[in-house]
Structure formats: C-alpha cells, structure tokens
Symmetry: D2
C-alpha cells in the first residue's frame, strides 16, 4: 500500500490524461494510469514520473470490457491506496461521419466510452469516496458536449449524455463533499497520441504552427494546471463547469 | 397502400403520442401508432380515429429489440405509404434513484430508449425522406434533456444525449429539407398511462386539481396543437427547439 | 372604442412587426401599429389591413422618448380598446463595430431600444393585463440574445438583457395567466425596411437568391404564423422560448 | 510610478473585490482599490495590504458618474503604472421586487452598474492592454446572468447584458492576447458589506451556520484563489466562463 493518496486516471495517453497524472504525482499523489493500448508508452510515462521522484503505476485496460473499470478500482483500493482524485479522460471522437456512415456499433461505442464508462466508474469509486467523506472527480469533456455539429452523431450524443450525467452526479455527491467538475475542452489539444495520429505528422505540425506560434494548440501541461487548481478549490467555492481554449481559437458559440 | 401521407408515432400511448397521432389523422394523415404493450388500448385508439373518419394502424413493438424499429419503418413504407412525419415519443423516466440504486441495466435501458432508439429510427427513415426531398421529425423531450437533477442519472444522461443527437440530425438534414424539432416538455403531462400509473389514481387526480383547476397538467390535445404547428411551419422559419409548460408551473431554470 | 381586442405592435415596419400586425388583424384583432418613422409606409400598411376588411391604427412613435410608450398604451386603452396581445419588435442591430468604434451613446441606445423599452412597455401594459386576468406578450429577439459575437458589443449586451428580462417577466406574470414568449429569430429576415436598407437593393436581392431560391431568407408572413400560434397556445402548454430560422441556414450553435 | 504591475479592482468592498485585491497584492501587484463609499473601510484595507508588505492605493469612486471610470484608469496609468489585471466587481442586486415596485430609475441603475460600467471600463483600459499586447479582465457575475428569476427584473436584465458583453469583449480581445473571464458566482458570499448588511447581523450569522458549518457561505479568500488561477492560466488554455458555489448549495439549474 502506498502512503500517498491515489489519483486514478482513466484514459492516460500522452495528451491530457498522462500529463495530468504526472502533475498530480509531482504534487504527492500516487498516479494510477490506465489506458487501452501502447504498453510501451505507458511504461515510459511511469518511468518518467518515477524519474522525477514520484510514484506511479500503469495498467492496460479496455474500459468497455465488462467489469474492467470496476475491477481496476477494487484492485487499486486494495493494493495501492484510497482513490482521492479520479480523472475521466476517455474520448470518443471518431471524426465527422454522415448519418449513413455512422454504424449502430460506432454509435454504441461512443456511448460506452463517453457516457456509460463514466457511470460505471462513478458507481465503483464514489461510494468509497462517500464513506471517506471526500473525493474529487474531474471529467474531461469536449465542445460536442454543448452543441451537436454535423457529422458528430455518435460523439455529440455521447458527450451530451456525459455532461448531464456530470450534473446528476454533482447533484447527489456535492453535498457529500465530493467535487465533480466537467471541463469543456473547446479546441484542439497538442496531443501526439490522438490528434497527432488522426492528422499525421505533417498536418499536425502545420496545425501547431498555424494556430499561433508555439502555443496555438492547447498545451496539456497547462491544462493540467487547471485540473490541479480544480482539485485544490476550497469546498465553499467549487467549480462544476468551465471551458478552456487557446487565446487564438474562437469559443464554440462564436463559430 | 394508403393514399394518405403517413405519420408514424413511436411511443403512442394515451398521452402525447397517441393524441398527436389522432390529431395528424384528423388532418389527413394515416396514423401509424406503435407502442410496447397494451394492445387493447392501442386497438381502442385506432378505433377512435377510424370512428372520426380517419385512418390509423396500430402495432405493438418493443423498440429496444434488434431491428424492431427498422423493420417497422420498412413495413410501413412498403405496405401503408411514405412516412412524411415521424414522432419520437419514447420516454425513459424511471423516477428518482440514487446512484447506488441505478443499475447498469437501468442506465443502459434509458439510453436504448431515449437515445439509441432515436438514432436507429433516424437511420431507417431519414434516407427515405432525403430521397423524397422532404420530411418532418418531431422528438418529444423532457426537462432532463437540459439539466441533470439528483436521482436522474439514467434519464438525464439519456435525454442529454437525445438533445444533442437532435442537433446533429438537424445539422445534417435541415439543408436537405427535413425538419427536425426537439420539444422540451417541461412539466407534468395529463397522461393516465404514464404519470397516472406512476402516481396511482388518487394522487394523480389530486395533482390535476392542485396544479390549477382543470388545466394545471399539460393537456395532450393542446400539446398536439403545437406539434401540428411545427409540422406546418414554412421551411423559411423552422423551429428546432421550443419548450412547453403549464402557465402555473415554473420553468426549469426558475426552480 | 373598438369592439375588437387590440394587438399592439411596437416596431411595426415592413418586416416581422407590420406583418404580424396584419395577421392579427386578419384574425379579428384591431392592430395598433407603432413605428418611429416613415408615416407613408405606416399609412399604407393601415390601408392594406383595412382593404382586407380589418381594423388598424397607425402611430409614429419614438420609443426612447420619455413616456412615449406609456402614453401610447394609455391612449390605446382609453380610445381603442383593451390590449390583449402586445408584440415588442424593436431591433437594435447597428452592424459590427469594434469596441473603439462603439460610442457610449450607441451602447446606451441599444439598451434603450432593446431592453429598457421592453421594461417600460411591460410596466405600462402588464398591470392592465393582470387586472383583466389574461394577456400575451411576444418579444422578437435575435441570435445576439444567446451569444455575443465580435463587433456586437451594443447589440448583444442589449439583447442578452432583453432575454433575461423576458424570463423575469414570465416568472412573475405566467402564474397570472399572461403568456410571455421570447422568439429567437436566428437568421436574416426578408425585410426590405431593415436588412434591405442595410444591404442596398442589389446585395439584398442577391442574398435572397443565394440563400436558397425564394425562401432562403425568413419570410415575415410565415414568422407571423408562428406568432399567431404562440398567441393561440392553450395555457396548459405555453412556450416561453423558441428559435426560428431558414432550413438553409445553420443554427447559431453550429457556426 | 510603481515598479509593480497594477491590478485595478472596481468594486473593492470587504467581500470578493477587496479580497481579490489583497491576493494580487500578495503576489506582487500594486492593488488599486476603488469603491463607492466607506472611506474608512477602504483605508483599512489598504493598510492591511501594506502591513503585509504589499502595495495598494484606495480611491472612492462612484462608477456611474460621467467619466469617473475613465478618469480613474487614466490616472492610474499615469501615476501608478500599467494596468495588467482589472477586476470588475460591481454588483447590482437590489433584492426581489415585483414589476410594479421596480422603478425606471432602479432598472436603469442596474444597467449602469452592471453593464454600462463594464463597457466603459473596457473602452478605457482595453486599448492600453492591446497596445501592450497583453492583459486580463475578470468579471464577477451572478446567477442572475444565466437565468431570470421572479423579482429580478433589474438585476437579471443587467447581468444578462453583462454576460453577453463579456462574450463580445472576449471575441474581440482574446486574439489580441487579452484574457476575459466571466465568473458566475452562484450562491451567497460571506461578505459582511453586502449580504451582511442586507440581512442584518443575526440573520447573517444564522445563514453562515445553517449552510454547513464554517464554510457554507462562499469564502472570499477562496474565491480569490480561483481569480488568481484564472489570471495565471497559460494563454493556450484560457477559461472564459466558470461557475463557483459552495458544496452545500444547489447549482442554479437544480433549483
């Protein structure tokens, strides 16, 4: 068992998830990092944290498998320590697809990743937090949680559900001293794993430069600052929802 | 084949769904009424419409069964006539339940009824409408589509997804001359089948009277007026979202 | 005194205002049409209504002048008849202007037209409606009421205030059987007086044609259908807010 | 001239405004504190900051007077230093009043304090920030900016305008490296000057205790933490809007 409180990250790639985990490790948490694939990348992330003197564990996990989330939570609580902070960072963006090109399976997958997975996580971890009388759950969300653009049938339906689920969780859990926050990431993140892979190296680098010098894409390290702040907010002034975007981007409501 | 255009109602009980079907039948549509159970009630509704000189067909259908929606659409198009208007009226309210009392199954069921069913319906019927160059889809929605209250984990997640799905459908289909409307029914409907059964006859009658004489609960006949208006709107002035509630009720944002 | 109920229109030009007045006149109301300038156009509108067998009166009125609204309401009630429906249709769009090009005066003017005028109207007419136990107030609004775009400092601040004022009016008046509705006109209206004048005849005609044949701009006659429907809604199913736009336009949240 | 950057606070009472000023002073800013009255309280606040080794100046200022804001900005820039951060913290809550009890003057006063004052401040200070290529403007806002409750005619209209003005300011200024943030303070602040005076000492103390021990009211010191965080956000991840409330309070959308 770790003497440190645990920060569990579901969806810990090289973008927001892993970077937030690293930040919490730097602040004294044991970062438990879960991602679906790329064991090598995961190992590298754990090493990087340990190299800084932090504590971390990494697990490959397919969140949509039966009981994968539930078992991971139970294992972490039993073997590592009490989960004080949980970051839900699974995305479900599949790019724009016309209705006829959006299969039932893709639509369901969006829901399993973006909505149902969060519900299962909340059911697994929140009762433990309630028993301990405290906890923090930060949910990474997206523009698609607040508007449905063309081609986003799967993603917007899933994220719209996620957003309202965050509200129902907050309504039940906030009076029990559990802070639930929904972060609308309204723009492109400088994430080689997801956006970088989707665009390919050349277009990704071009986008980085077009959007405004070195910081037109959202920098995960700086998003992590805000996640850390949310987790530090005094309970008399909790934020439930906030947006983040680059200075050089238009907010979703302006375009 | 009917000489009349078809208005297909998914969720045609004695509240909004059946009443809207009756209204469209009165205006010259062949009402195709689908509901999960109560064949006797369904037959009675069909008879009532026919007794007024209208055309109607009734089908028992469990919308969450594989291909139930898709088969029904195909059958109606083949045997009755082109679906010009479709009303999606399936609810997923299960009352307030704490997180620990909301099973995975209940959560999934909410999504299957409120979100996935609409997606499947849209996939089945909208390509036909696109081919014909016109169509109308009106989706009954609820307060839970715009805010997540305590105990509404399943319902709000499902309805929040439904709302944004309506937006993505609208974004793709409106330029193709298909009108998609999302109706936020923000209050209690005078529906013996659903609210009445949930409350029991005495509490139901008491609520009817408490809320302000004979019209404190929302009258389905009068909701049908607005559905009919939406379907009649000229395409230069389509409404995508509107709310409806009783004069004696507070809007969701005021309480 | 007129035997007919009065529909008072504040902002009765050749677009939405005048057309809604005409529609209510056709349905048996005495239309009282107020606009700031163009007495000839106003006289023509009154004649057109009377030529159809309807009743109408026209008044030039500068709504921002002290007591102009209050006096008009008092006069109408004393000389013509009880105001059963009031349409507030004053716009405050001045085109996009940078902060440095938006004078204090322009900013204040926006508020006087879009927000304060509505407040004054409500103070003048609603107590009379409360005494009579019924009434309808329909407020034309704009995209700028729900989002603040670049260059819209004056307009968006004024319309954002107007929208929330409609909510506070509704909260107080709805239980007293007065229907307050806020209509988000989310697009360009085929209005020669305002848009036509702003663009000039050639660009206006080009826009009409570009946006999709004869009905890409919103047709005032068809907007009037929806205003009429709102005024006819049964009080058990009142709509407070709805949007309208052309099928060929993107909703504000999609662009 | 101060060697330190200036944080200008408009509305620097003993609640959020003064406390935020103190916090920025502690972080190395020269706090310029403006409030309408209570010169003794203001002097005490300046002394407290200086007693901690910080820099501060206090000015009595009636923001609604002609050129009061503009002159103050010019004076600060000329005599103290460049304004890097500005906090707009003027409230306009006058308690719930029926329409008939809300005078034209009270309605206008709400707008002058909550909307027009912010516009004037932005016109005075933002061009200077644009010239310097950076700046931060944080606007304290309220529940009334997002919904209009009964009795809030003046407040909600003013705050609804303020919110959309923040959006238009952000749309123009964000690309110029000026961070505009709108903070929805959704609950009661532990502010003796405003809430305390409105309630009287006994009811105020009772509320403090009722809401959940020592921290049911929002603690200004802790709100200041979030204001400081906003001002520190990297420009690739700016927040435009966030809410804050006590764990023991319901969010505005839940009640």
């Amino acid at each position: 068992m770790s003497a440190q409180p645990v920060c569990l990250v579901i969806g810990a790639g090289a973008g927001i998830g892993g970077t937030v985990g690293k930040r919490f490790a730097r602040e004294g948490y044991h970062a438990v990092l879960c991602r679906r694939s790329d064991g090598a990348g995961l190992a590298k992330l754990v090493e990087a944290i340990e190299g800084e003197g932090g504590q971390a564990s990494g697990f490959l996990m397919n969140a949509i498998e039966d009981s994968a989330i539930e078992d991971r939570v139970a294992h972490v609580e039993a073997e590592i320590g009490p989960i004080e902070v949980v970051i839900y960072n699974l995305g479900a963006q599949i790019g724009n697809r016309a209705l006829s090109d959006t299969s039932d399976k893709a639509f369901e997958m969006g829901w399993r990743l973006a909505t149902f997975g969060l519900f299962r996580l909340a059911k697994a971890v929140c009762p433990l937090m309630v028993d301990r009388g405290r906890g923090t759950m930060i949910v990474t969300s997206a523009t698609a949680a607040v508007r449905g653009n063309a081609g986003q049938h799967s993603h917007a339906a899933a994220m719209g559900g996620r957003r309202l689920l965050c509200q129902t969780l907050n309504a039940e859990l906030s009076p029990k001293n559990i802070h639930v926050a929904h972060v609308v990431v309204d723009g492109s993140v400088d994430a080689p794993d997801t956006l970088g892979r989707m665009l390919g190296p050349e277009r990704f680098q071009a986008l980085r430069e077009t959007k405004g010098a070195e910081d037109g894409l959202m920098l995960p390290e700086r998003i992590a600052d805000t996640y850390w702040h949310i987790a530090q907010q005094h309970r008399s002034v909790w934020t439930h929802e906030l947006d983040v975007r680059s200075f050089s981007d238009l907010p979703w409501w302006n375009h």
